[in-house]
Amino acid sequence: MSGAGVRPDAAAPTSRPSAGGPASPPTLEGREVALELDAITCRFEELTAVDSVTLTIPAGSRFGIIGPNGAGKTTLFNVLSGELRPASGTVKLFGRDVTRMSAPERVRLGMGRTFQVVRLFSDLTVRENLTLAVMGLSRSKLQLLRPWRTYRVHQALAEELASSFGLRDRLGRTAGELSHGELRELEVLLALAVEPKVLLLDEPAAGLSPAERVDIQALLRRLDPGLTIIMIEHDMQVLRGVVDWVAVLDHGELVTQGPTAEVQRHERVRELYLGRAAAHDGAEHLGSTTS
């Protein structure tokens, strides 16, 4: 399973151009484009939540999306995953236009996601959660007359996933009994169980203790280098540890994008996170949790 593979080392940042402005994409260097967003606009009545955002994300990227609350990050994720249809623009997944495709269809094409607020099957056991996930792409999910426990391959996959991230001894517990950190890990495992090529992580470290943040960061760094990860995260420390390229949204617009270190020094970004006065005071420590 690609998602469960241990990542030996975080992918070294490629020699990409510095953030020259909102429209500057990372250099592809012959790499396949995993996700291509062309002028995506999403409106809720009068509110424009995402305003003509264009991004190109190469396969195998570690791509971060940041911005203040209400910037449109999660709305953009919902458009990417197929839960929302954009008012205009197109989304291409590995060159295929998926703009009109439903969320389950996109999962079949290789897109997995987690949610900002943990979304699990809380009254089901960890084993049942993982079994449901590994059966997501299998035709046997419509099987009516054979107990799900007898699908040994699915059971083995579920156990392998649980073991790979230390949840093996929790297989018999209901998800509702897990700690918040374990819930976050389980959510990532569910997303990995559908063998994604593109993984969308919506604030995977939200609500975690410092120790749990280290754990989730380690978990994400161990993932298959071939997996494209797009992550929304407010915690710049976690973000820095996982992604090498960041796009900044504000009021639905793409403010800038570039290598993480450069974006952190970007004046507009510091204004957004620290306020105009602090930014001009030369605040250099856009490092820890910023929201």
Partner: protein
């Protein structure tokens, strides 16, 4: 993915440890206690058999209980596992019964009429399902209620087909050689066999991958979609199955009562089916059978002594919802857990000079109590987890 592949010994071990729901509570019991369940079950079957074959009034009541239990199990399949409470299942009971009666009136033999009826039920479930499963939650309840009322309205007002308020009488019953449904005893036995078959099939279905996905649908539909499930399809299949089961109950109803009228399709009948499910135990399949027993006894027995039996049933229903949210099934489960705790405590007390129960529990997480805890948690049984909680052995997952 290959579903039929082999697995590692570890997987098999885990499956055997977790895969037998009965083991965790049976383990601490003595042989006599273990045999109590099967003996009680066999005794119940014998009593039911005697009642069914006695030809008494009680046997008629019992037949009605089984028929409505079938329909209620269908409601539970969709509502208790998929989270989709339907208020239109009495309509499908009516379609099943009317289907047989109308086909016979139009010259078809009883077997053909049964086939036509079941096909009509399936066809209507397939068609109405397209509309019903487009919505969920309270909207689904209202849509199914509306569909049920449409069926009732057709039964009441399409007099040229249904004879309106008078209903239609069954002309003949199917038979195979000497086995004829015109004999009351044959009808009772057939009803019982069909009931057992549907109970078994539905229990199998709720433990299947589809059943698991139904539980996922109830728990978190958005997450299920994000795992590649077309949840509309899950809802649709569940709806068609539940409706078809109700239709089978309807076919049995006409062979049992020999008359079908719009009274069987009224909103109150829909309500009674939901009451059977809630009272018996939502999400258990077998619980609604006990709910059907209570409701039918109220309707047919207590009503002879008490004019306001519906008021009393309402009070019982409210009390049950407040004091035993898991219904009768939940009550029985609690009793079973109490029995298990008692047996466990007794077994711990027996060995002379052995460690104190608390110490034994703390130092032997893999003991039967530990197994009971893990298995109870597997089944999501919070009560058991609280009562018999033992420390968990540290592992690499601990943080």
């Amino acid at each position: 993915m290959d579903d039929l592949g082999t697995t590692t010994p570890t997987t098999l071990d885990t499956l055997s440890a977790e895969g037998t729901p009965a083991r965790w509570w049976v383990a601490p019991l003595t042989l006599g206690e273990r045999m109590a369940g099967p003996i009680l079950g066999a005794a119940c079957l014998v009593v039911i058999g005697i009642i069914l074959t006695s030809g008494s009034y009680l046997s008629t009541i019992f037949e009605d209980i089984l028929i409505f239990a079938i329909a209620a199990m269908g409601v539970d399949f969709l509502g208790g596992f998929g989270g989709l409470i339907t208020l239109g299942q009495a309509g499908f009971v009516g379609v099943g019964a009317y289907g047989v009666a109308i086909a016979e009136v139009h010259g078809y033999g009883p077997w053909a009429a049964t086939g036509i009826s079941l096909a009509a039920v399936l066809g209507l479930a397939v068609v109405t399902g397209v509309v019903a499963v487009r919505v969920s939650g309270i909207t689904f309840v209202i849509v199914t209620l509306a569909l049920g009322q449409i069926f009732w309205g057709l039964g009441y007002q399409w007099t040229s087909l249904t004879s309106g308020d008078n209903g239609i009488t069954l002309l003949s019953s199917p038979s195979i050689g000497p086995w004829s449904l015109s004999s009351t005893m044959t009808v009772w036995v057939t009803t019982f066999v069909v009931f057992l078959a549907i109970l078994a099939v539905l229990l199998l279905m709720v433990h299947s991958p589809f059943g698991l996905s139904l539980r996922g649908l109830k728990s978190n539909e958005r997450r299920l979609r994000a795992l590649g499930y077309r949840t509309g399809l899950q809802r649709y299949i569940g709806y068609v199955i539940a409706s078809f089961v109700a239709g089978i109950a309807g076919v049995l109803y006409i062979f049992s009562n020999h008359l079908i009228s719009p009274a069987t399709l009224t909103f109150s009948q829909d309500g009674f089916l939901v009451v059977m499910v809630i009272l018996g135990g939502l999400g258990t399949i077998w619980g609604p059978c006990l709910g059907a027993l209570v409701v039918v006894m109220f309707e047919q027995e207590i009503s002879t002594y008490l004019a306001r039996w519906e008021t009393l049933m309402g009070v019982v229903f409210i009390a049950a919802v407040i004091f035993t949210p898991g219904g009768i099934a939940g009550l029985l489960r609690r009793g079973r857990l109490a029995l298990t705790r008692l047996a466990t405590a007794r077994r711990r007390a027996k060995p002379a000079g052995g460690p104190a129960p608390a110490v034994a529990s703390a130092t032997a997480p893999n003991s039967s109590a530990g197994d009971a805890l893990d298995a109870a948690r597997t089944r999501g049984d919070g009560d058991a987890a609280r009562v018999t909680a033992a420390p968990r052995a540290p592992s690499e997952g601990d943080r």
